[in-house]
Symmetry: C2
Subunit: 103 residues, 2 copies
């Protein structure tokens, strides 16, 4: 079953660009993972410290496997000291709308 | 320039499904709007009252025009009494990651 997450991360002041760079770099391997339909890193225009990651995966197992890969583990280790608190992770279920994903 | 929004709506207790139905129905016109790359309505698995709408449009003007259409205006009018407070609207800027949208 499709697995969707909305992640909200708060960087320590002045560290958002560094965190975003780590997320983009360590997530580059997802480009070659057919289970990753989307993993989009975006900056909040209204809060200078907030980064969102919008994830859409074919299934939860594939997501968990990808997150446990060495690139992502290194990235997480590098990002944690630059974050304020623990990232919010919202698991969500699609009910409709427009998308290229067939749901 | 691409225009992205992460919207977070809180329904009054017991009203989430009704709000989601209104959003999906009134947003059905977006399927025929080439400026709408995504407008995905999802339910928060961890909060029974929360709905997110993840929007990706080719440009802000097209989004604003679509939101002002009669279907969406009717939908908004119908949804407002079923909501708790005012929806959070987070404008966001993509910095990278995996997506079918070329950014």
């Amino acid at each position: 079953m499709t697995y969707l997450l909305i992640n909200r991360l708060t960087a320590k002041p002045g560290q958002r660009d560094a965190v975003a760079r780590i997320l983009v770099d360590s997530g580059a391997v997802f480009d070659d993972d057919p289970a990753c339909l989307m993993s989009l890193v975006v900056l909040d225009a209204g809060d200078d410290d907030v980064i969102w990651v919008q994830d859409i995966w074919t299934d939860r197992e594939a997501h968990d496997r990808a997150m446990a890969g060495p690139e992502m583990r290194e990235g997480i280790e590098a990002a944690i000291p630059l974050l304020e608190g623990v990232p919010e992770q919202h698991e969500v279920t699609p009910v409709g709308g427009t998308s290229p994903f067939g749901f």
